[in-house]
């Protein structure tokens, strides 16, 4: 399988060339175009099977669609284009182990990876991210999207990311939610509010912009429906 990202960063799209037998699981609605003989199976996904209803429900809460699509090409292989709804970048990387993706940032992964919306504890409720995170485990390639550009931070000790700017992180990192700055006054009035602090050694992927902030800037000018 070959994943090529085109038109980065503003209008990124993933062009995936697949051989027969290879499969991609994607978020519902991500497909832009595909080979004529590509088979699409929509399911409440779980690894290697039709999936459990509970996992589907959990994914619904994770900001992901309840259903996922599994694409498998015909005997001669095929091509698949995946995109996202927000303007921004895509990133692809090979994982071997566990990788945590922020609810709305998951686009697709190879069928060899298990997709699960994992509960990260009550702290996630306050982190400005969706309540659930998508937990990917296994070996294979994954595709995630961002609002704005994606930048990688090599955490070696501790690093702080504002809520709403986390795209994904390696499972080797531990994260906790804390107030920005030393005092609650800073946290509340300084506008930074709560932030996520990562500890340990590993990579965290951040997005340059925050969809919520853009939404709040635009919303006052939109008419009431």
């Amino acid at each position: 399988m070959n994943i090529e990202l085109l038109h980065r960063p503003a209008n990124a799209v993933a062009k995936i060339t697949m051989s027969s037998g290879e499969k991609i699981i994607s978020e519902a609605g991500a497909m832009i175009a595909m080979s004529e003989d590509m088979s699409v199976v929509t399911s409440k996904y779980a690894k290697g099977g039709s999936g459990g209803f509970l996992k589907g429900i959990k994914r619904l809460f994770a900001g992901e669609n309840f259903f996922m699509n599994r694409f498998s090409p015909g005997p001669n292989g095929g091509e698949l284009y995946l995109g996202t709804s927000s303007m921004g970048d895509l990133m692809t990387r090979k994982i071997d182990g566990e990788f945590i993706v922020q609810g709305g940032s998951f686009v697709a992964c190879e069928d060899t990876i298990d997709v699960d919306a994992s509960w990260q504890g009550f702290k996630s409720l306050f982190s400005g991210e969706s309540t659930f995170w998508v937990k990917l485990s296994g070996t294979g390639q994954v595709i995630v999207n961002s609002f704005g550009a994606i930048y990688e931070v090599d955490v070696n000790d501790t690093y702080t990311v504002d809520t709403g700017h986390i795209v994904a992180f390696e499972e080797t990192l531990d994260f906790s939610v804390r107030k920005a700055g030393g005092s609650w006054i800073s946290a509340i009035f300084g506008g930074e509010g709560l932030v996520c602090e990562f500890n340990g050694k590993g990579k965290v992927y951040c997005q340059s912009h925050n969809q919520n902030n853009f939404g709040y800037s635009l919303a006052p000018m939109l008419k009431e429906v």
């Binding site: 702080t160 030393g182 506008g191 951040c206 912009h209």
Partner: protein, 220 residues
Amino acid sequence: MKTEIKFKPGFAVVHVKLQPGETITAESDAMASMSSHLQIKTKFNGGFFRGLIKKFFGSESLFINDFTCPINGKEAELVLTQPTPGDIWELELNNSSFFLQPGAYIAHSGNVTLGVKWAGIGSWINKEGLFKLEVKGTGKVFFGAYGCIIKRKVTGDFIVDSGHLVGYSKGITMSMGLAGGIFSSFFGGEGIVSRLKGDGEIYLQTRNLSALATLTNKYL
């Protein structure tokens, strides 16, 4: 302190490296990520009353944050961003002053003060805000826009469509005007414009958030 603007022009952010003892001041909620040992101190955006004026009439925040790398700490990193995707530029002030439109300010370093100046009813009707932000002193100022930023020298008169002006130097005055005659102003879609007069530099943004809202509103 080292600053670099990355991901220009579509998704620009300011990437800052701070040495122990150095401080950069940023707009409320501008921080995207940072080294955990940076100290954040929240303060009024130029005093309580001036801060209030800025908040309610200038669309600026009541509070701004100082990010300081502790004296005994190691080098720190900070990424600053803006709510809208678009370009960010930096401005070097050398005992000088510059005007920024509401919402354009992101951060500054050095000996720079933020003040408010009356911009006039014309400016307000033109959706450019009743007050304008004046950045003054010596240091660096970072400002952003929705879309790309164009810098242009102005000598004499120049016309900018409402919602597209980002900043202008002190020698320039702004007044409201019509794009052409009554007919073309209202049926030609250009409507009310800003008339700039004087000698100096102006910065324009190539897109306009309220135009995006107007476009979107058609489908809501």
